[in-house]
């Protein structure tokens, strides 16, 4: 590994009373990267964040920051700051003193503290809120104070533990954009924990998908979405049709009683595989356009979602999840088409 990695985890495991929370994690984080730890609750993402912050010691393995082992460096000596899930603002201090807390601990000159705190309050759109008590602020405002309190220390890495989890949808969307903008402007590395796949896809440079303490896939949002490495990732990142299949030969795959051309090769001949097709990649055709042995099915349900319809089509015993802009009705016979590059082949789960 080159020394340009800001944080590296080597074979990190963590057990709580015999229950493994993290298993043999290898991961590196680059300077200036927006990295998201994504997974369902209990997948170990928060544990990983707490290990990097220094609140939790790994049971085994090594954590390096800028090439130095941090095993014996307590949280208060790490160049890392955290935005906590429930903000953890100090209720006995006003907004200014909350943000100034870290700088006062470092005993910086008063004028500098004032300058830096005010700059940060401006950055998070809370100029003039310094004298308010944190209890008087709304959830979104408290969130911003928490971010300002962490960022004012100019950390190498900002850790965010589901920071938008308590906000309503509209506010959350706004904060996502704002956070991303802040990160790009300040050039600070963000490590972001969330269970919201949409949030992960919008904000991240790199996504790490975790499940039961094991990394499932690391990659850019596009890669994770378009080329999920296994059925769990495919299922967790957006909706998917996942079917068992057989690789006939290179570029030919059989599933649900048909053979399809595909773009994948190297799985061998007559090998069992799992096939993933995104719902928006299934095209609905009028029956007339389907050839003699084309795919056809019966519409089982439809759900209007605004831009598209979410429909279920039963074909040869399998219920396809399809997103389409065509209006169809329950009971209709429809034709279907799946193009070669819409079919993703994965090795089956062990």
């Amino acid at each position: 590994m080159s020394d340009k990695h800001l944080i590296e985890l080597f074979d990190v495991s963590k057990e709580y009373d015999g229950d493994a929370a993290l298993k043999n994690i290898d991961l590196y984080v680059n300077h200036g990267e927006f990295l998201t730890l994504l997974g369902p609750s209990g997948c170990g993402k928060t544990t990983m964040l707490r290990i990097i912050a220094g609140f939790v010691m790994p049971s085994s393995g090594r954590v390096l920051m800028e090439g130095r082992d941090v095993a014996h460096i307590p949280p208060y000596k790490r160049k890392v700051n955290t935005v906590f899930q429930k903000y953890a603002l100090f209720p006995h201090l006003n907004v200014f003193d909350n943000v100034a807390f870290g700088l006062k601990i470092k005993k910086l000159p008063k004028a500098e503290i004032e300058r830096r705190v005010n700059t940060l309050l401006e950055l998070v759109n809370l100029k003039g809120y310094g004298k308010r008590w944190v209890e008087q602020l709304s959830g979104g405002q408290q969130q911003r104070v928490a971010i300002a309190r962490a960022l004012v220390n100019e950390p190498e890495v900002l850790l965010l533990d589901e920071p938008l989890g308590a906000l309503d949808l509209q506010l959350r969307k706004g904060m996502q954009v704002e956070l991303k903008r802040m990160q790009q402007r300040l050039g600070i590395t963000f490590i972001y924990v969330t269970h919201d796949q949409e949030e992960a896809l919008t904000m991240s440079d790199t996504i790490v998908v975790l499940r039961e303490g094991v990394i499932q896939q690391i990659g850019a949002p596009q890669d994770i979405y378009n080329e999920p490495r296994n059925a769990f990732v495919a299922d967790f990142i957006g909706e998917s049709n996942i079917l068992p299949g057989m690789m006939a030969c290179d570029y030919r795959v059989r599933f649900n009683g048909r053979e399809y051309p595909c773009v994948d090769a190297g799985f061998g001949e007559e090998q069992p595989v799992e096939v993933v097709v995104r719902p928006e990649d299934v095209d609905i055709l009028p029956l007339a356009q389907v050839g003699g042995n084309g795919m056809r099915g019966v519409v089982k349900s439809t759900l209007f979602m605004g831009v598209h319809y979410e429909i279920q089509v039963v074909s040869d015993g399998y219920t396809w999840m399809v997103h389409t802009t065509d209006a169809v009705d329950v009971g209709w016979q429809v034709g279907m088409q799946i193009l070669p590059d819409a079919i993703h082949i994965m090795r089956p789960r062990p």
Binding site: F55, V80, A88, F90, F101, I105, E135, N153
Partner: protein, 273 residues
């Protein structure tokens, strides 16, 4: 009609209850202003017993002992109890429950038992000084009450606050002083006032544990054995007023806090709605 009857009984019942509770004290307070020395014989309003009280060097010395023991023992018990509560809070659940329960046992222990056991242990270790004995005894019975009022505040306080302080560069001790203790301060203050009050009006434990030194309650007891002196009425009135004032402060404080928390909750609810 039924409602009126019900209300009448409700009022009467409450009135009777308060009468039973406060009649003796009311009588005592009234007679502390009596000009005559004999009880039950009202001869006119006067402050002579108060004057006599403050002129009595013995009583003033006893008052000094009571106040200084109350203040010292409350301060020391508050410090020790607060740190004990913080320590217990960070224990594992099983151990914590055991220790918590053990620490609350002295509260239900009869004062007489506490007093005699303290007397025995002081004799056993050869502690002669009466004032030190009194102080140690009061610290001992005060600590559980401080723990009792600090522990719930700790449970309300989030552990994330402590972690946030560490995250922002505090050592564990700094985090404790700058974040955790301010956050549980209301509990610490109530604990202190409770301890102070308990120490002020303790008789049984003091009586058995000390020797040679008299605080107010012991002095009054020995004075009463020689015959009731109206000075005692004046003194008791003052003590009653002092204790009631302190309790009022504690209660009003907690009511205010609850109300503030209520409005806060309502505000938040309104915002999210």
């Amino acid at each position: 009609m039924v409602k009126r009857v019900r209300n009448f009984f409700k009022g009467t019942y409450l009135g009777l209850m308060l009468l039973f509770l406060y009649a003796p004290i009311a009588v005592l307070i009234v007679y502390s202003f009596n000009a005559s020395k004999t009880m039950g014989n009202w001869t006119g309003f006067s402050l002579i017993w108060y004057r006599a009280l403050f002129g009595d060097a013995m009583i003033m010395r006893a008052l000094g002992v009571t106040l200084s023991v109350a203040a010292l023992s409350a301060v020391i018990a508050t410090i020790m109890g607060t740190f004990a509560a913080i320590g217990m809070h960070s224990m594992k659940k099983g151990t914590r429950l055991v220790i918590e329960n053990i620490s609350q046992l002295p509260v239900v222990n009869p004062d007489l038992v506490t007093g005699i056991s303290l007397m025995m242990i002081f004799a056993f270790i050869g502690l002669k000084d009466g004032y030190t004995r009194l102080l140690l005894a009061h610290i001992t019975f005060n600590i559980p009450y401080v723990i009792f009022s600090v522990a719930p505040k700790l449970r309300q306080s989030s552990n994330e606050l402590y972690e946030a302080a560490l995250d922002l560069g505090c050592t564990p001790l700094e985090a404790l002083i700058k974040v955790v203790i301010p956050d549980i301060m209301p509990g610490i203050v109530s604990g202190f006032i409770l301890a102070f009050t308990l120490s002020l009006d303790d008789f049984v434990v003091s009586y058995f544990s000390t020797q040679g030194v008299e605080n107010l309650s012991i002095y009054i007891y020995s004075m009463a054995r020689r015959g009731i002196n109206p000075k005692i009425n004046a003194l008791s009135t003052l003590m009653f007023v002092a204790v009631v004032t302190l309790l009022l402060i504690v209660n009003i404080k907690s009511i205010r806090e609850e109300r503030a928390a209520d409005t806060q909750r309502r505000k938040v609810a309104k915002k999210t709605a």
